[in-house]
């Protein structure tokens, strides 16, 4: 599995000053997979994604993307290598128009070819971004902003789409729409890493899901475990630190 991994995170650690935020996290993502990461607030989920994007520095470990270490890369280089982030809380450019936000999504594209095709398919997936192209993005509703954030990331034509809490702060029907869109994206063959506080939904959606707590991976669960509340509780609150740590490979 290791040799064919698209993304390989090995013993990744991050500290904020003296406070460890991520400890020895290891996992791998193969091309075409959907991998979930769930965990309580403060578990280190956003830190993990920021570390993969090189938006925060590492205190140890490595991340390889297509076999190449990201250790010496800056965030813009990581983006141009083919990892697109949908940041937590949307973080679209609210002063800019919807269309300008989408154009910024294309900055990291490795080739200008097929841009129109990708734009068409993104608008088909999220009609709202086509309808409101000339509006300031800040005037969109929360759900529409989330769709714009995902659309913007897709326009980079990334090999790996990374989503940080895409359901945060959205109404249940809107969350359904977001997950339906993600399902379409997965069926188009895109590799996805999705980080969520909403465990059950993510576990059911992803091919496999890691439970992160206190900066460590506590366990790995599959879609069949979505209904297993006992297992989740144990993972979230961690009965035994070492025995449940999963290496991700093998």
């Amino acid at each position: 599995m290791t040799e064919s991994a698209l993304l390989e995170v090995s013993n990744l650690s991050v500290r904020y000053g003296a406070v460890p935020a991520l400890r020895d996290v290891s996992f791998a993502v193969r091309a075409g997979e959907v991998v979930g990461v769930v965990g309580p607030n403060g578990a280190g989920k956003t830190t993990m994604l920021s570390a993969i994007m090189r938006m925060v520095g590492w205190s140890g470990g490595d991340v390889q993307f297509r076999g190449e270490s990201l250790a010496r890369r800056s965030p813009d280089q990581v983006a141009r290598l083919g990892i697109a982030l949908v940041p937590e809380g949307r973080q679209i450019f609210s002063d800019l128009t919807v269309g300008e936000n989408l154009r910024l999504g294309t900055v990291a594209r490795r080739s200008r070819g097929a841009l129109q095709r990708d734009l068409d398919s993104v608008i088909e997936l999220f009609p709202v971004v086509g309808d409101f192209r000339d509006r300031p993005a800040g005037l969109l509703s929360g759900g529409q902003q989330q769709q714009l954030a995902i659309a913007r990331a897709l326009l980079a034509d990334p090999d790996l789409l990374v989503l940080d809490e895409p359901s945060l702060g959205l109404a249940p029907t809107v969350i359904d729409a977001v997950f339906a869109a993600l399902d379409a994206i997965r069926r188009a063959g895109r590799t996805i890493v999705i980080v969520e506080q909403r465990a059950q939904r993510t576990i059911a959606f992803a091919d496999r899901t890691y439970v992160l707590a206190d900066g460590r991976i506590r366990s790995e669960v599959g879609p069949g475990d979505a209904g297993n509340g006992e297992l989740l509780r144990a993972s979230y609150f961690g009965v035994d630190d070492s025995s449940q740590t999963h290496e991700g490979a093998s």
Partner: protein
């Protein structure tokens, strides 16, 4: 009729301060850096004019632009870039130190006595329209100011790198995560700010023909105050703020009785205090559409 005269002169001075303010605003936008050394760009241009006195204007004008842009880029590369992730206070102290250093170098090299910068002597001449006495430099200032402001606006809104610059000003982290090369954007902003400062310097010459080490400080601080009064967070209000402070400066000067003109600064800063108390968010700042996430 006097008031029309005052108004035209005030618009001309306002245009010059708008150019300086736009440069300050651009750099603040992409770096969150309040550059107290911005005025020293004008000072450097001034001494370039002094040192090349007698040369052809066709050489001196590009040379001034070159020197000012080179100084702007050196500031960025040597002093500001290494501190990019430092606290705003640290960056502010750095810009203060750079300003102080440059003024001291100028003082060592050229002393604190004023040096003549004469260029474009013809621009100081005036023509009459009825009771109005209009200097050519007034028209040229307004014209060049308008053209450059329009050009920067077109750059920001019609080009890909302009869009990226607006994105960086809005949220640098996210722009970078989308693939925007921050260094390229920052360097571009410093080049534009340098060109604007050089243009402003050249147009300041007819009315302030001597350069001293403090030449840029006075202009820079006043433009910076204009930026804050207008609203730092966006370029248009910041530029209008620069225009307003230049306009007010000229207007207050004209309206004060001759014997009272020593009170120009008191009157001007009194006005600034009142505006800041009434509209702390900035004179030309709309309420934000949405809070920043």
């Amino acid at each position: 009729m006097n008031y029309v005269q005052y108004f035209i002169d005030a618009v001309a001075l306002g245009s010059l301060y708008a150019l300086v303010a736009l440069g300050i605003g651009l750099i603040f936008g992409v770096m969150r850096l309040v550059n107290l050394a911005h005025g020293e760009l004008l000072m450097a241009g001034g001494y370039t004019l002094f040192a090349t006195n007698g040369w052809s204007a066709f050489v001196r004008v590009p040379l001034v632009v070159l020197v000012v842009v080179a100084l702007a880029l050196s500031m960025e590369r040597l002093a500001f870039r290494p501190l990019r992730d430092a606290s705003p206070a640290t960056m502010l102290v750095m810009t203060f130190a750079v300003s102080f250093l440059l003024r001291n170098i100028a003082q060592k090299r050229w002393s604190s006595q004023g040096k003549a910068m004469n260029i474009f002597a013809g621009l100081s001449k005036a023509f009459r329209v009825g009771d109005l006495r209009i200097r050519y430099v007034t028209l040229v200032s307004i014209g060049v100011g308008a053209v450059l402001l329009l050009a920067v606006n077109l750059f920001l809104y019609r080009t890909e790198i302009g869009l990226q610059m607006r994105a960086v000003a809005s949220d640098r982290r996210i722009a970078q995560a989308l693939g925007v090369r921050i260094n390229r954007i920052v360097v571009t902003a410093f080049v534009i700010a340098g060109v604007l400062a050089a243009a402003a310097l050249l147009l300041f010459v007819p009315q302030r023909p001597t350069v001293t080490p403090d030449f840029g400080l006075q202009i820079g601080i006043l433009a910076l105050i204009g930026v804050v009064v207008g609203g730092m967070d966006r370029l248009a209000p910041a530029t209008f703020g620069g225009f307003a402070i230049g306009f007010a400066n000229s207007m207050v000067f004209s309206l004060l009785p001759r014997g009272q003109r020593v009170f120009l600064d008191s009157a001007l800063y009194g006005l600034v205090i009142i505006v800041l108390l009434l509209r702390p968010q900035g004179l030309f700042q709309r309420e934000r559409l949405t809070a920043r996430v």
